[in-house]
């Protein structure tokens, strides 16, 4: 049964590779989004971070998936800067810690990993859904994945729906007035623009679906 798809270190590596590829491809778009309501560096920040992550993982092949996620998180923290670095960095670190040393994991643990990631982003950034941040994309993704798997939807379909939920959350940031991050300084002027962090987050979830899909 597909829903019993077993994931491992290779899944994490290809997820990070997918993210690296899509961030390069979307770099200018993310820069434009951030220039409109931030400071125009989100694209460069994410590219710098995930380039470094891919390099770090290559160097540390053979480690279990949890360790790789922790390494990826540490690498983001130490290379990105900006708001997104510590947020995604801590997210991947706590997700990774949750997997401990086990060499494989399945759907339910993946939900816990993403749940832990979301929790640490909300804890560090104190943002809630509706504040026009990456949380607006990540939280619906996590909830959708959890409920879909509970209903027995096969993992890759569930991930496809989670990614769609993230993309919907991303689009839903457009009409919002930002309450967190730089965009909040603009007050009403932040309304009408899509949040760059929510956009890169949707890309990250879509990349996860691709990575898991490939492997099966």
């Amino acid at each position: 049964m597909i829903s019993e798809r077993v994931m491992d270190a290779a899944t994490i590596t290809s997820w990070m590779r997918e993210i690296d590829a899509v961030m390069r491809a979307e770099r200018d778009h993310l820069v434009q989004l951030d220039a409109a309501i931030g400071d125009g560096d989100h694209g460069t920040n994410m590219v710098r971070g995930f380039e470094a992550v891919v390099q770090a993982l290559d160097a540390d092949a053979g480690a279990p998936p949890g360790k790789l996620l922790v390494l990826a998180g540490r690498t983001l923290v130490s290379t990105v800067g900006g708001a997104s670095g510590p947020l995604w960095g801590s997210a991947l670190r706590s997700g990774g810690r949750l997997l401990g040393d086990s060499s494989t994991f399945e759907g339910p643990q993946l939900v816990e990993v993403l749940g832990a990631a979301l929790a640490s982003i909300k804890d560090l950034g104190t943002a809630a859904v509706g504040d026009k941040t990456m949380v607006d994309a990540l939280e619906p993704a996590v909830e959708t994945l959890r409920s879909q798997l509970r209903e027995g939807t096969p993992l890759d379909q569930a991930l496809d729906q989670a990614a769609a939920a993230a993309e919907a959350g991303m689009r839903a940031t457009i009409p919002l007035q930002a309450r967190k991050g730089r965009a909040s300084y603009l007050g009403e002027r932040s309304v009408g623009h899509q949040d760059p962090g929510a956009t890169s987050t949707a890309l990250i979830i879509r990349a996860l679906q691709k990575a898991v899909g490939e492997g099966s």
Binding site: G81, G181, G187, R189
Partner: protein, 340 residues
């Protein structure tokens, strides 16, 4: 000259290396004051760590020069952590700087209130604590253009940062202890307010494009220091009218007591020449007196900038004897020097 040409009005080799190359140049120009640790990407006071002296560090995105690297030296910062242009540095830099300046009396982190800076300094402070260094972090948030409410990330840290680095630096040089130095930073932050305006955007080297388009004859009111648009756009009036807006915004929020002695800091955003900054200061001085406060100290120049943005900001600090004494104390850094 080169076949492959540079399409920006900038002197650069590789946009990805502009910060590192600039820091190397700063260190080459001021070996008597500071050194550049390229591995950690930090600027460190030459004689750090000073045993028994509280270390004072700050940091943030680059593009605000001379802030922060230009303020490393005697009587001001012990180290600066420069991030990429307009991007917060990472915790590893702050941790390295903290260790490099810790003389056993603890280290104060001056953090401008931007989510990125705050989060990265937070992680760094946690790691420093794990390594047994006493760290006290103070957040600067003096920008009155942003309402401090549940609906924002809080006020930005702007001009007061320069004043806090100078004044707390003097306290640390006078061997005040950790809590005294961080109290001094807080005191400056509480007694200072700022408001900035822009007449142009600026071009970050990484993107090579202006962050926003501002037509001539328009002004952005309530900007920060990252080339971002302000709270609102208006048609550009006379210098007198612009200064009215700046002084009113700052004074109505600061509410200094009648007759208060203040420090007036007219800061250029990078692309506004001194000719205009002094013209602005002349207007500011008159309006402050009219508002019933007395400018007994001032600073006029481009000290906390947004690359080559045309614009200016006003910071007013309500002084008392202690702050005035620390302000007047000797300072010797690349960008601020007196009394020595």
């Amino acid at each position: 000259m080169a076949v492959e040409t540079n399409q920006m009005r900038k002197f650069l080799n590789d946009p990805a290396r502009v910060v590192k190359e600039s820091l190397a140049g700063l260190a080459a120009a001021h070996p008597e004051l500071l050194r550049y640790d390229a591995a950690a990407q930090i600027i460190v006071r030459k004689d750090a760590p000073k045993q028994g002296k509280v270390g004072l560090i700050s940091g943030g995105g680059s593009g605000h020069e001379p802030l922060h690297g230009g303020f490393v030296g005697l009587g001001m910062l012990d180290a600066a952590c420069p991030g990429e242009v307009f991007t917060s540095p990472v915790p590893a830099q702050m941790l390295a700087a903290t260790k490099a300046v810790d003389g056993g009396a603890g280290v104060v982190h001056i953090v401008k209130n931007y989510t990125g800076d705050v989060l990265n300094f937070k992680l760094a402070a946690e790691e420093a604590a794990d390594e047994g260094v006493k760290v006290s972090s103070v957040v600067i948030d003096d920008d009155v253009a942003v309402q401090d409410s549940l609906y924002t990330a809080g006020r930005r840290g702007v001009g007061a940062t320069v004043l806090a680095e100078k004044i707390a630096g003097a306290a640390a040089e006078a061997h005040a202890d950790l809590s005294k130095v961080s109290e001094t930073v807080k005191k400056v932050n509480e007694r200072a307010r700022s408001f900035g305006v822009a007449l142009s955007s600026c071009v970050p080297p990484a993107s090579g494009k202006p962050i926003f388009e501002l037509p001539e004859g328009q002004i952005e009111l309530g900007i920060g220091i990252h080339g971002e648009p302000g709270r609102k756009r208006a048609s550009l009036g006379s210098a007198t009218e612009v200064v009215d807006v700046m002084v009113e915004a700052v004074i109505s929020d600061l509410k200094p007591k009648k007759g208060a002695k203040v420090l007036a800091f007219v800061n250029g955003m990078g692309g506004t020449p001194l000719l205009e900054l002094y013209l602005i200061y002349g207007e500011v001085e008159k309006k402050l007196r009219a508002a019933g406060v007395e400018p007994v100290r001032n600073l006029v120049g481009s000290y906390i900038t947004s690359l080559e943005m045309a614009g200016a900001s006003l910071t007013v600090l309500e002084l008392d004897e202690e702050l005035t004494g620390y302000w007047d104390a000797p300072v010797h850094t690349p960008a601020l020097r007196w009394g020595i």
